[in-house]
């Protein structure tokens, strides 16, 4: 009886440790829904586009969201604007220089001001944002939504959890050497960025 009880305790302890352990969420979305939207003001019409070539991994512990860390990568070649000539310019050397800088990355090193209500955590993610090969330390407000056991609803035959990450922030293109010669009367220095991504942790 004692032996059975100790075995049961061991199983419970292992399960508990597994459940409490940080999970790694993969943000390469098979549905291709993940996106990053960018917007720059311009006189005739704001230049708005998006990128959906998103990948990366984030380690998240539902029991302790403050220790969240990870890296999100956006393929620069997936940047798209609705005007084909503008897209050519955007990918060119003066703007994003996609050939030389194929990735835009954000590496989160720590979360500050963490507030969790239910499955939703809001925080300020401090980390390194790299655009056009220029890396800068930034702090970005993020919202993390932990969706337990919801992976099967998105991808049948797969069991696991989902983590939805949303972030909206601005950067200055002059800080990253993105067409610094373009006058602000023609296109604003401020770029509004919105990230809406979901990652999956398979069990």
């Amino acid at each position: 009886m004692k032996k059975q009880l100790s075995t049961l305790c061991a199983i419970v302890a292992v399960c508990g440790a597994t459940l409490a352990a940080p999970q790694t969420f993969d943000f390469k979305d098979p549905k291709g829904v993940n996106n990053a939207v960018f917007k720059l003001d311009a006189p005739l019409e704001a230049i708005t586009g998006s990128a959906n070539g998103i990948s990366g991994k984030v380690t998240f512990d539902p029991a302790n969201p403050a220790v969240t860390k990870g890296k999100i990568v956006v393929a620069a070649a997936s940047l798209h604007v609705p005007n084909s000539m503008m897209k050519e310019h955007l990918h060119g050397g003066q703007w994003m220089d996609v050939a030389k800088n194929p990735e835009l990355t954000f590496e989160a090193k720590e979360l500050k001001n963490v507030k969790t209500t239910g499955d939703k955590t809001s925080a300020d993610a401090a980390g390194t944002l790299t655009l056009k090969g220029v890396a800068r330390e930034v702090t970005v407000p993020v919202t993390l939504t932990y969706l337990k056991d919801k992976l099967s609803q998105r991808v049948p035959n797969l069991k696991g959890d989902l983590l939805v990450v949303r972030a909206s922030f601005t950067v200055k293109r002059s800080d990253y050497g993105i067409n610094p010669g373009a006058p602000e009367e023609k296109v604003s220095d401020t770029i509004d960025l919105t990230l809406s991504i979901a990652g999956a942790a398979v069990r």
Binding site: N34, E45, N52, M86, S196
Partner: protein
């Protein structure tokens, strides 16, 4: 028909065709677009996915280019003025 008249008619036709095309494609007052975003909601995550569909929507730059082309043709037509006929002796 005199060549200058052909040029003037061509410039009018360009303006008319450009304005009609601009109007029937939705009178886009922004830049010309060669694709349009289509948003689809992922109900599980609540994320709006964005895909692009190829669609041509001329904008103000298209209208401007058409007006410029028509103006060049109309100006060129002035080079082909009707030669004054010499007065016949009475």
């Amino acid at each position: 028909m005199a060549f200058r008249h052909i040029l003037q008619l061509a410039s009018l036709a360009i303006v008319f065709a450009a304005v009609v095309l601009w109007l029937i494609t939705g009178a886009n007052r922004g830049w010309t677009k060669t694709s349009e975003p289509k948003r689809t909601l992922d109900e599980v995550t609540g994320i709006e996915g964005i895909t692009y569909e190829k669609r041509y929507r001329p904008g103000c730059d298209f209208l401007g280019a058409a007006l410029l082309g028509a103006g060049i043709l109309a100006t060129a037509s002035l080079l082909f003025r009707k030669q004054p006929t010499p007065n016949r002796p009475a």
